[in-house]
């Protein structure tokens, strides 16, 4: 009997420790959210969303162009990155054992851990040197960041599609490539969509690549070959000025909100529908 009581106590201690660890782990996230919300809320008014960025040091203004810029650059990166990433993922999953596949997979994994600033320099070297600071450069840099993530998640999603599905299609007299492009892709679409959305959420918040490619600006979008604003850059700039830092917090709040929204959407859209 004595050892039972002792075990129960040990059990309770362990559970409490686990809970405490959880709380400690959540503190940073909670505090970020709390701080951002508290400090950013004062900036939330309609004009904040639509006005242009004021020159350094001046009060007022908004982050309209920054939101627009982020959306455009991310969209451009997606348009470039998603198709390349998905097709690479499909290739790796279907030709798993070949020499090329092994090499590509290895390079892909390496690329996922390249520092983002390096990608920024790449974008700079490729595009900015040729045509100047531009949205195009930013899009390319972010696309390069996106591709390895999408490739990896697509490959995993396709690998999860059971062989029985493929065999069923093949047995119907459907050529191998068609099986992959229709039945397999369609079965994997949830996993692929998750991967895509998460990579979008990831690149939306990247600052370094944008520093060296789109440069940043105070004005609305002016063309793909022109520099443009973006939320991470806006946050950086606003925080340079000692006054009116609420604008930086406001921009942070908006950015975090966008990323949170994407994450929650992904979770909701891919939830288990049937128990």
């Amino acid at each position: 009997m004595r050892s039972y009581t002792f075990r129960k106590m040990k059990d309770r201690i362990m559970v409490s420790l686990a809970y405490m660890a959880l709380v400690v782990a959540l503190i940073p996230l909670a505090s970020i959210l709390a701080e951002t919300i508290l400090r950013g809320l004062p900036a939330m008014n309609l004009s904040f969303f639509f006005e242009e960025i004021p020159p350094l040091g001046e009060p007022g203004g908004g982050i309209g162009p920054a939101i627009q810029g982020t959306l455009i650059v991310v969209a451009l990166a997606s348009v470039i990155g998603i198709p390349i990433g998905v097709f690479s993922g499909v290739y790796l999953a279907e030709f798993r054992q070949t020499r090329i596949a092994t090499i590509v997979r290895f390079l892909n994994d390496v690329m996922t851990s390249v520092p983002s600033i390096v990608l920024g320099i790449l974008g700079w070297a490729l595009i900015v040197v040729a045509i100047g600071w531009s949205v195009l450069a930013g899009g390319v840099a972010l696309a390069i960041m996106m591709i390895p993530i999408v490739t990896r998640t697509t490959e995993e999603a396709i690998k999860l599609v059971p062989m029985t599905i493929r065999e069923a299609a093949i047995a119907l007299g459907v050529p191998r490539w068609k099986t992959t492009m229709t039945v397999v892709l369609s079965s994997a679409k949830r996993g692929i969509a998750t991967g895509i959305l998460l990579s979008i959420a990831r690149i939306s918040g990247e600052t370094a690549p944008l520093l060296l490619t789109i440069l940043g600006s105070r004005f609305w979008f002016g063309g793909f070959t022109q520099p443009t604003a973006a939320l991470p850059l806006a946050i950086f700039n606003f925080s340079q000025s000692p006054y009116y830092t609420y604008r930086a917090w406001g921009a942070s709040l908006v950015l975090i909100f966008i990323i949170l929204l994407i994450n929650i959407t992904v979770r909701y859209a891919t939830r288990e529908k049937y128990g």
Partner: protein, 252 residues
């Protein structure tokens, strides 16, 4: 009655391991031929060679001839895809396409092979679901997900899907082993009806099923064809002692 399929000296390997040895047999048209034998005897490999599915496994190899209506499906320049349109297959675990409705599942083979005329698809879907004796049960809810059906119904859906592309031969790899007895019986009765229009070859590890359902039975052991003949003879008076031992349950 003529021979629909003639297998001549078929050998098959997985890498270095030989799984089938010198199989030679002639399969009659419009009958049910069962292939029985203990686990690992090569029966699944055998039927997968008949619709050229064996070769999609990496490092799989086949030699020999398989004549469908007199023409070798392994001949020079023969596209396996066309073979598979004439010889359909139903698998052990029912595998309707997930995220597709009953209608789409039945029509899948047709759609993927380029047929898009709605009227023709409707016609073929109804015809094949009727042939699989599933029409009455699902005709009111063709839009429901294929996965929402019971196991037995899913398997009949898979049969309908295979029949929709109008094959001549239907291969069935242990089609009822994942089903409950009542559903299994329905499928067995269905098979007896199907032979009016198709030639059926069924692999089963359930000897009694082979006895009930088939007209001819082939007994495979360790990759070799031990005995092949009318089911009545195999189960009443087998010629080979090995067959007798297997059937009476001494091993396997």
């Amino acid at each position: 009655m003529s021979y629909k399929i003639e297998i001549e000296d078929l050998n098959a390997w997985f890498g270095k391991k030989q799984v089938l040895q010198n199989i030679t047999m002639k399969i009659k048209e419009n009958v049910v031929t069962a292939i029985i034998g203990p686990s690992g005897c090569g029966k699944t490999t055998l039927i997968r060679c008949l619709n050229r599915m064996h070769e999609i496994t990496p490092r799989a190899r086949v030699t020999g001839r398989v004549l469908l209506d007199g023409e070798d499906i392994y001949g020079e320049g023969v596209d396996p895809v066309t073979v598979r349109r004439r010889i359909g297959m139903v698998f052990q675990k029912p595998n309707p396409f997930p995220m597709m409705s009953i209608y789409d599942n039945a029509a899948a083979g047709l759609k993927l092979n380029g047929i898009s005329d709605k009227r023709r698809l409707d016609e073929m879907v109804e015809k094949s679901l009727k042939a699989a004796h599933l029409w009455d049960e699902v005709k009111a809810e063709l839009g429901k997900s294929g996965a929402s059906l019971s196991g037995g119904q899913q398997q009949r859906l898979c049969i309908a899907r295979a029949l929709a592309i109008e094959p001549e031969v239907l291969l069935m790899d242990e089609p009822t082993s994942a089903l409950d007895p009542t559903a299994a019986t329905k499928i067995e009765q269905l098979i007896r009806v199907l032979i009016e229009d198709y030639t059926v070859i069924i692999v089963t590890h359930n000897m009694q099923q082979a006895a009930r359902v088939s007209d001819h039975t082939a007994f495979l052991y360790l990759g070799k064809l031990v005995e092949y003949g009318p089911t009545k003879d195999i189960f009443e008076n087998p010629r080979s002692e090995l067959t007798e031992k297997y059937i009476t349950g001494e091993f396997g």
